[in-house]
C-alpha cells in the first residue's frame, strides 16, 4: 500500500498509526541535556515504505529525538522498538535493523569511498550476505561508482551526503534515520538526495528525516511530526499539520501600506498574531476570521493565499512568545 495515500485522510496524532506493522515505534521519549529538558513525552512511529518528516525550529529537540531512536542517546523515560526489537533489551537486533546518516559527515576519512562501505559492513552481525555485490549495487545506485577509489574528502558536498546515505543502508536496514541530509547542498544536489530518499521508500524502508527545508519536508514526507520546545506540537499529513498549527488562509499585506495601523489594532483586539516577512505582514486566519477581516477592511489592498510549511515556524515562534 502506498503510505502517502494511506495517511492522506488521517487525523492528527498517534491514532493515525499506519495499518502495516510499525518498524519504528517510540513512545513517551524524554531527555534532559545539561540540566534542561529538551525532549518531553515524544511519541513517533513509522511504517514500511513511509517517510516521516521531523520538523521544528532550532532547539526543538529533533536531533536529540533522532539520536535516542537510533541508540546514540539513552532516553530517561520511554521505549523504542525497531522492527519489533526493543532498543535497550535487544540492542544488537535493533541496531542491526537500523541505519543512520548523521548531520555531520562521519564517514571514515582514512578509507576510500568503496572501503568506507566495506568497513561499515564489518560493523554488523549477522554478516551482510553478498557484501561485495551490495557495495557495487550501492556505488551504482548512488552515482558513486566513478569515485569509488577516491578519498571522501575529495568529493563535493552532495556526493559526501550520498556516501553517508549509502553507508547508512549498506546492511539493508529496515529503518533509516537521516538527520538533515540536504543541509548545505545546492539545489541540484538536494534533488539528487530526494531521489535517493524516494528510492529508500520504494524499497519498503521506514525513513525518518529531519529537515529545516519546508519544500523538502512537503515533497518527501508522508507524515510530519512538528516538535516545539521538546514536545509534539502537531503530527499528520502536511496539510493537516498546517491546518492545525497555522490556519486555513494567509493574508499578506504591506507593513507600510495605508490602513496598517488599523490592521494592527484589529489584530491586537482579537489576540491574533502576524509574522513579519521582509516588508509584509503574513496573517494566518481561519475562514470565519477571514470573513470578518474582509468586512472590516473593504478598501484595503492585500493578498490571500493558502498556507505553506514556510508559515509554520513563525506560527510556532508566536506560540512560544505567547
Amino acid at each position: 500500500m502506498n503510505a502517502r495515500a494511506a495517511h492522506a485522510q488521517e487525523p492528527v496524532g498517534r491514532s493515525a498509526a499506519p495499518a502495516a506493522p510499525l518498524l519504528l515505534d517510540a513512545r513517551g521519549l524524554r531527555k534532559s541535556l545539561g540540566g534542561k529538558l529538551v525532549v518531553d513525552g515524544v511519541d513517533l512511529s513509522c511504517g514500511p515504505g513511509e517517510v516521516l518528516g521531523l520538523l521544528g525550529p532550532n532547539g526543538a529537540g529533533k536531533t536529540t529525538t533522532l539520536r535516542m531512536c537510533y541508540g546514540f542517546l539513552r532516553p530517561e523515560a520511554g521505549s523504542i522498538r525497531i522492527a519489533g526489537h526493543d532498543l535497550v533489551l535487544e540492542a544488537d537486533a535493533a541496531r542491526r535493523a537500523l541505519g543512520v546518516c548523521t548531520q555531520d559527515d562521519t564517514f571514515d576519512a582514512d578509507f576510500t569511498v568503496r572501503d568506507n562501505l566495506v568497513q561499515t559492513g564489518r560493523y554488523y552481525r549477522p554478516a551482510i550476505t553478498g557484501l561485495a555485490e551490495r557495495i557495487e549495487e550501492l556505488l551504482e545506485r548512488f552515482g558513486l561508482a566513478e569515485y569509488a577509489e577516491q578519498m571522501p574528502e575529495t568529493l563535493s558536498g552532495g556526493y559526501k551526503r550520498r556516501l553517508m546515505i549509502a553507508r547508512a543502508v549498506v546492511h539493508r536496514p529496515q529503518v533509516a534515520f537521516l538527520d538533515e541530509p540536504t543541509t548545505g547542498l545546492d539545489p541540484q544536489a538536494r534533488i539528487a538526495v530526494w531521489e535517493l530518499v524516494s528510492g529508500l521508500r520504494a524499497d519498503g524502508m521506514a525513513v525518518v528525516l529531519t529537515t529545516h527545508y519546508m519544500d523538502e519536508a512537503e515533497r518527501l514526507s508522508d507524515r510530519l511530526l512538528v516538535l516545539h520546545d521538546g514536545r509534539v506540537r502537531a503530527s499528520g499529513s502536511p496539510r493537516s499539520v498546517l491546518g492545525d498549527v497555522v490556519g486555513e488562509h494567509i493574508v499578506v499585506l504591506p507593513i507600510a501600506g495605508a490602513g496598517a495601523d488599523q490592521v494592527a489594532a484589529w489584530l491586537g483586539e482579537r489576540h491574533l498574531f502576524s509574522s513579519r516577512v521582509l516588508s509584509n505582514w503574513h496573517i494566518p486566519l481561519d475562514a470565519a476570521e477571514l470573513a470578518v477581516f474582509v468586512a472590516a477592511f473593504p478598501h484595503l489592498r492585500y493578498e490571500v493565499r493558502v498556507p505553506t510549511l514556510d508559515d509554520l515556524f513563525p506560527a510556532l515562534a508566536d506560540e512560544g512568545r505567547a
Partner: protein, 269 residues
C-alpha cells in the same frame, strides 16, 4: 554493562581491524618511526654519549651505556607508543575525524570503540617493540651489543600487557582534555615524570624518597625487569611488579575511562 567482557566482543575486534587496515595502507611510512627512533636513540645516546663515559655500575657489575640503554628503550617504546596512540590519535579520531560517531551509529557501542582503541594502541606498541628488537639484533650481529637474546620472546607478552595498561592513561586524557591546545599537558604531567623517574635512561640516584616513589612507577619496573632479563639473563620480581601494577591500572582506569568518555561523547551520563 560489563567493563571487561567487551574487550573480547566481535565489535571490538572490528574496530581493531579497522585500525590495522588503516595502518597497513600506510605501512611504508608507518614503518619509519619504529625503526628510526630506536636506531637514532641507540646511535646518539648508546654509541655517541656512551663513548664519552666510562662503564656504569649496574646491579653491582660494570656495564657499558649501550647495553644499559637497550632494554630501557624497549620498555619506553611500549610506553610511549601506547600512550601516544590512545591520546593523540584517538583524540583526532574522536574529535576531528568523527570516526567514533560513525562507528557508534552501527552495532558498535562505546565500550567496543574504547577497547578497540586500547587494543590497537597495545598491538601497535608491541609491534614497535618487536621492531626495536630487530634493531637490537642488528646491533648484536654487528658485535656492538651483547644480550640474552633467547629471552626476547618472553618479553613480548609482558610488553603487550604494559602497553595496554599505558593506553588507559592516554584514554583518560582523551576523555578529559578540553581541547587540542592542551595536548602538551599529559606529556608534561605523565610522560616526562614517568620516563625520567624510571631507570630507562640512567640508573636512579640513591635518594630514599625517589627510590620509594618509583616503586609505583610501572615503567621503572618494566625497564629494570627487561634489563635484568636481557642483560643478566635473570627473570626478576620487577617483571612481576610491572605486571601487577599494569593489571591494577587496567582495573582502576578502564571503568574510569569508560565513564568519562561516555560523558564526553554522549554529553549526558
Amino acid at each position: 554493562m560489563n567493563t571487561y567482557l567487551p574487550a573480547f566482543a566481535w565489535q571490538s575486534r572490528a574496530v581493531l581491524g579497522r585500525h590495522i587496515r588503516v595502518h597497513l595502507r600506510k605501512w611504508h611510512t608507518a614503518m619509519l618511526p619504529p625503526v628510526c627512533e630506536p636506531l637514532i636513540m641507540l646511535l646518539a645516546f648508546g654509541v655517541g654519549l656512551g663513548r664519552q663515559m666510562s662503564d656504569l655500575s649496574w646491579n653491582g657489575h660494570p656495564v657499558d651505556y649501550l647495553t644499559y640503554l637497550a632494554p630501557g628503550i624497549l620498555a619506553y617504546t611500549a610506553f610511549m607508543t601506547a600512550f601516544f596512540q590512545s591520546l593523540f590519535s584517538a583524540y583526532v579520531r574522536m574529535h576531528y575525524q568523527k570516526s567514533w560517531e560513525g562507528q557508534l551509529t552501527t552495532q558498535v557501542r562505546l565500550e567496543h570503540v574504547v577497547w578497540g582503541e586500547a587494543l590497537w594502541a597495545a598491538s601497535l606498541a608491541t609491534f614497535y617493540a618487536v621492531m626495536v628488537c630487530v634493531v637490537l639484533l642488528g646491533f648484536g650481529m654487528a658485535g656492538a651489543l651483547h644480550l640474552h637474546w633467547l629471552w626476547l620472546p618472553v618479553a613480548i607478552p609482558l610488553l603487550f600487557l604494559a602497553a595496554l595498561a599505558f593506553s588507559t592513561i592516554g584514554l583518560l586524557f582523551t576523555a578529559t582534555l578540553p581541547s587540542m591546545d592542551h595536548m602538551g599537558l599529559p606529556f608534561f604531567l605523565v610522560i616526562m615524570p614517568m620516563g625520567f623517574a624510571s631507570s630507562t635512561y640512567f640508573p636512579l640516584p640513591d635518594v630514599p624518597l625517589l627510590l620509594m616513589a618509583v616503586q609505583i612507577n610501572p615503567l621503572n619496573h618494566l625497564a629494570e625487569g627487561m634489563r635484568l632479563l636481557l642483560v643478566a639473563g635473570t627473570p626478576s620480581w620487577h617483571l612481576v611488579w610491572a605486571a601487577g601494577l599494569c593489571l591494577l591500572m587496567l582495573l582502576i582506569l578502564v571503568p574510569l575511562d569508560l565513564r568519562l568518555l561516555r560523558k564526553r561523547v554522549f554529553g549526558d551520563r
